[in-house]
């Protein structure tokens, strides 16, 4: 049993490391900030998630397992939020995604910029 | 939460002090607790600004009283020690009230009490709400902690407490010049405390201890492979900067004139002296033999500081900025003790430190009076104060002469002792520097007093006439008392010390011998002699 778990742990770790490397390569190789965001938000989450899963699997003590799983969930909760906010901010700030220069979708998002500030965005709900 | 009651049996006495502690023993730590707790309470009730003054005043009065009681005890019994958390030395943090620290703490408390006892009218509600009194309390916490702790890293912590509190006080009001001054003050002081921290960490790495008494012993027993010389140099640079010694005094003339007079008065009284104290403590008491090679350099620094300060004062076009330079010049006198490391020199330096705390605070407060009535500190725009308030003018003159070292005010005793000590130690040029800086300061303060007080009015007032238009009268008698009262009280102290120096002299001498001979200190803290 423990040796199966050990092997599983090792595999999970390697998968996680692989995803992390993919994310790193993606961030390095992708052509613009939005495509890099894809690599970061996904591969980062997967990489750290699998490593945490490896911890959960490897450890026989209950508290560590539950905590590691909690960690995975924490990542899943937060990662998309930051990705979304950053992407949105970049679009609104005027960073034009590659290949979408004349894209009507983009301009409809960006139109918000042209509108008065208070309507566009306010931290005060 | 996983802690449990079922611990293995241990011999408590091997780790902890098991004898009960009386209130008398708490006297060492109470001066720290009182302002700290008061500061915390003030922050808790930060919106009830009307409570701030009474609470702070009460705390300062209590602090002064406690310091006095502690001083009495130290005078009769020698250093008083309390181990924090009851852990045995050198494992726990030792609070060690020796004569030097206790004296300076007491004078600090006195200065703070006097400077802020009457409501500083410059402190408005907004500044109270944003922390004048909490900053003050924490400043006093830092000062007291620095003077009383017997642990090097703990000293660093209190340094930071007083530094951040001083930042707070410095920016209250948020005038442009304050912001500018704080930038320079903040960064340069940060570098200095960082150096202090680095030196402390390295000293720990070399000797394996942080307790000052333990360091004093281990440093004297250390082999030649321990780089104590370089560490001493690092400590010297750190504390010389904190003390605003030339040529690392930049921050002081850049900032001390910017906040309200009350704050400047507190700074002038307290901050640089903590640096001098730490310098004396580390270089003389802790690292004594290892730092001896720095003596000549320190002597040059001391002399240069006196002269640079005096020249700066002479070159100042602004009363407040001149006072900053006078503080610097005084630091030079306080460094003579660290440079010469003789009983006489240390006595003179310690005496000078007390004198400087009183007189510089008084002068900054006086500058506040001038500014309150003339709305400027520009020597060109001032005038007519002697005609308007002769007694106040004479008090200020006495204070200025005290700075210059003219008798019969407090400043001449330490100068005389320092000159004596310098000649005796074969450094006549250092004695000459004391005298020459005294001469230059006489010229500088004489000129300033001429402009501000004797001259009939601002520059351009026709000769022989008095134009009182530039000197507003006080808004009320209460304001007059609030502004002038503290100046007078401090001036009285200055005069009393000048006329009756023996008491302070004996204390300074005792403190000096305590620095020179660590045996008594280490014996009291650790029960061992080096």
């Amino acid at each position: 049993m423990s040796s199966i778990l050990a092997v599983l742990t090792g595999i999970l770790l390697l998968v996680g490391a692989g995803f992390a490397l993919i994310g790193a390569l993606g961030v390095l190789r992708f052509p613009d900030v939005y495509t890099r965001m894809h690599a970061a938000s996904k591969a980062g989450t997967l990489g750290s998630g699998f490593c945490l899963l490896a911890v959960a699997v490897n450890e026989t003590s209950f508290d560590v397992t539950t905590r590691a799983l909690a960690g995975v969930i924490f990542f899943l909760l937060t990662a998309p939020v930051s990705a979304h906010l950053l992407a949105r901010a970049a679009v609104l700030a005027g960073y034009v995604p590659l290949g979408t220069g004349k894209n009507p979708v983009l301009s409809s998002v960006q139109r918000k910029v042209a509108s008065p500030r208070s309507a566009k965005d306010s931290a005060r709900p | 939460m996983a802690a449990s009651s079922d611990s293995p049996a241990v011999d408590l006495a091997a780790a902890m002090i098991t004898t009960p502690a009386s209130l008398q023993d708490w006297l060492v730590i109470l001066p720290l607790i009182v302002p700290l707790t008061a500061g915390a309470i003030l922050v808790m009730i930060r919106h009830s600004t009307h409570w701030h003054r009474p609470v702070a005043g009460l705390a300062l009065a209590a602090l002064f009283l406690l310091d006095l009681l502690l001083l009495r005890r130290v005078l009769t019994e020698g250093p008083v020690v309390m181990m924090m958390g009851s852990w045995l030395p050198p494992f726990g943090i030792a609070f060690t009230a020796d004569l030097l620290g206790t004296t300076l703490a007491t004078v600090s408390a006195f200065v703070a009490l006097v400077a802020t006892a009457t409501a500083p009218p410059s402190i408005n509600t907004a500044e109270r709400r944003y922390g004048f009194y909490p900053f003050l309390m924490l400043l006093m916490t830092g000062v007291t902690g620095a003077f009383l702790t017997g642990d090097l890293f703990n000293l660093y912590v209190w340094f930071e407490v007083l530094l951040i509190s001083s930042f707070g006080l410095l920016v209250l009001g948020s005038e442009k010049s304050q912001i500018d001054g704080t930038v320079k003050y903040g960064l340069l002081n940060l570098v200095a405390t960082t150096l202090f921290l680095v030196a402390t960490g390295l000293l720990y790495g070399a000797l394996g201890t942080l307790n000052m008494a333990d360091i004093a012993i281990k440093a004297r027993a250390a082999g030649p492979d321990v780089p104590l010389g370089a560490l001493a140099a690092l400590f010297m640079l750190a504390f010389a900067t904190k003390a605003a010694a030339f040529p690392v005094n930049f921050w002081l003339p850049a900032s001390y004139h910017t906040p309200t007079a009350t704050v400047s008065a507190l700074f002038a009284g307290l901050l640089t002296k903590v640096g001098v104290y730490a310098l004396l403590k580390t270089l003389v008491l802790l690292l004594g033999p290892s730092s001896a090679y720095l003596g000549t350099l320190l002597a040059f620094v001391a002399g240069a500081t006196m002269l640079a300060g005096a020249l700066g004062a002479l070159a100042s076009s602004d009363f407040r900025r001149m006072l900053g330079w006078l503080v610097v010049s005084g630091i030079g006198n306080m460094l003579v003790g660290a440079a010469l490391v003789t009983g006489g020199a240390l006595t003179g330096s310690i005496f000078y430190a007390v004198h400087s705390m009183l007189v510089m605070s008084a002068l900054y407060l006086a500058s506040g009076v001038v500014e309150a009535r003339a709305a400027t500190a520009d020597l060109r725009k001032l005038g007519g104060f002697y005609a308007a308030s002769p007694l106040f003018s004479l008090v200020v003159l006495a204070l200025l002469f005290a700075v210059a070292g003219l008798p019969p005010f407090s400043g001449f005793w330490p100068k005389a002792i320092l000159v004596d000590a310098a000649f005796a130690a074969g450094a006549p040029w250092l004695g000459a520097a004391v005298l020459v800086s005294g001469f230059l300061i006489t010229l500088a303060v004489g000129r300033a007093w001429l402009y501000i007080f004797w001259r009939g009015g601002p520059e351009g007032t026709p000769d022989g006439t008095v134009a009182l238009a530039g000197v507003r009268s006080f808004e009320s008698n209460a304001q007059a008392v609030a502004l002038i009262g503290p100046v007078v009280v401090l001036a009285v102290a200055v005069a009393v010390i000048g006329l009756l120096p023996a008491g302070l002299g004996a204390i300074a001498e005792g403190a000096a011998s305590g620095l020179l001979d660590p045996a008594g200190f280490t014996a009291r803290v650790l029960g061992v002699t080096p």
């Binding site: 423990s2 040796s3 050990a6 092997v7 742990t9 090792g10 595999i11 770790l13 390697l14 996680g16 490391a17 992390a20 490397l21 994310g23 790193a24 961030v27 900030v33 890099r36 965001m37 690599a39 970061a40 938000s41 591969a43 980062g44 990489g47 750290s48 699998f50 490593c51 945490l52 490896a54 911890v55 490897n58 450890e59 003590s61 560590v64 905590r67 590691a68 960690g71 995975v72 924490f74 990542f75 937060t78 990662a79 939020v81 930051s82 906010l85 950053l86 901010a89 970049a90 700030a93 005027g94 960073y95 034009v96 979408t100 220069g101 960006q110 910029v113 042209a114 566009k120 965005d121 | -």
Partner: protein
């Protein structure tokens, strides 16, 4: 090769790969070229660091490090959120010459700082 050996090798390999990833991500932070590029890379740095800590925990059997990973999972994204806000309030100031808009239509957006 026992399972334990495999795990040891896997852990070491993981740590090396993750170290390499950290270096690569750092390179992107340095290269930029735009502010969001750097922020994205920083965000990923946190993720990879968490993986690193988890793998290290397995190696040393010291799970004290796990809490750090948890905290980073929960709090680390805040840095990115703050930077996003920063981008939003600054516009493309500083990056304008790097990322010229594709069309004239958007030129009015250039350097528009709220």
């Amino acid at each position: 090769m026992t399972a334990a050996d495999f795990l040891d090798v896997a852990v070491e390999l993981t740590l090396i790969v993750l170290s390499l990833s950290l270096v690569l991500v750092s390179v992107r932070i340095i290269l930029g070229p735009t502010l969001p590029d750097r922020i994205v890379a920083l965000d990923l740095l946190v993720g990879v660091a968490v993986g690193f800590i988890a793998a290290f925990g397995i190696k040393t059997a010291a799970y004290q490090f796990l809490d750090i990973a948890l905290a980073l999972g929960l709090v680390g994204f805040l840095a990115t959120v703050a930077f996003a806000r920063f981008v939003l309030s600054r516009g493309r100031a500083g990056d304008a010459e790097i990322t010229l808009p594709d069309s004239d239509e958007q030129s009015n957006l250039q350097g528009k700082t709220p």
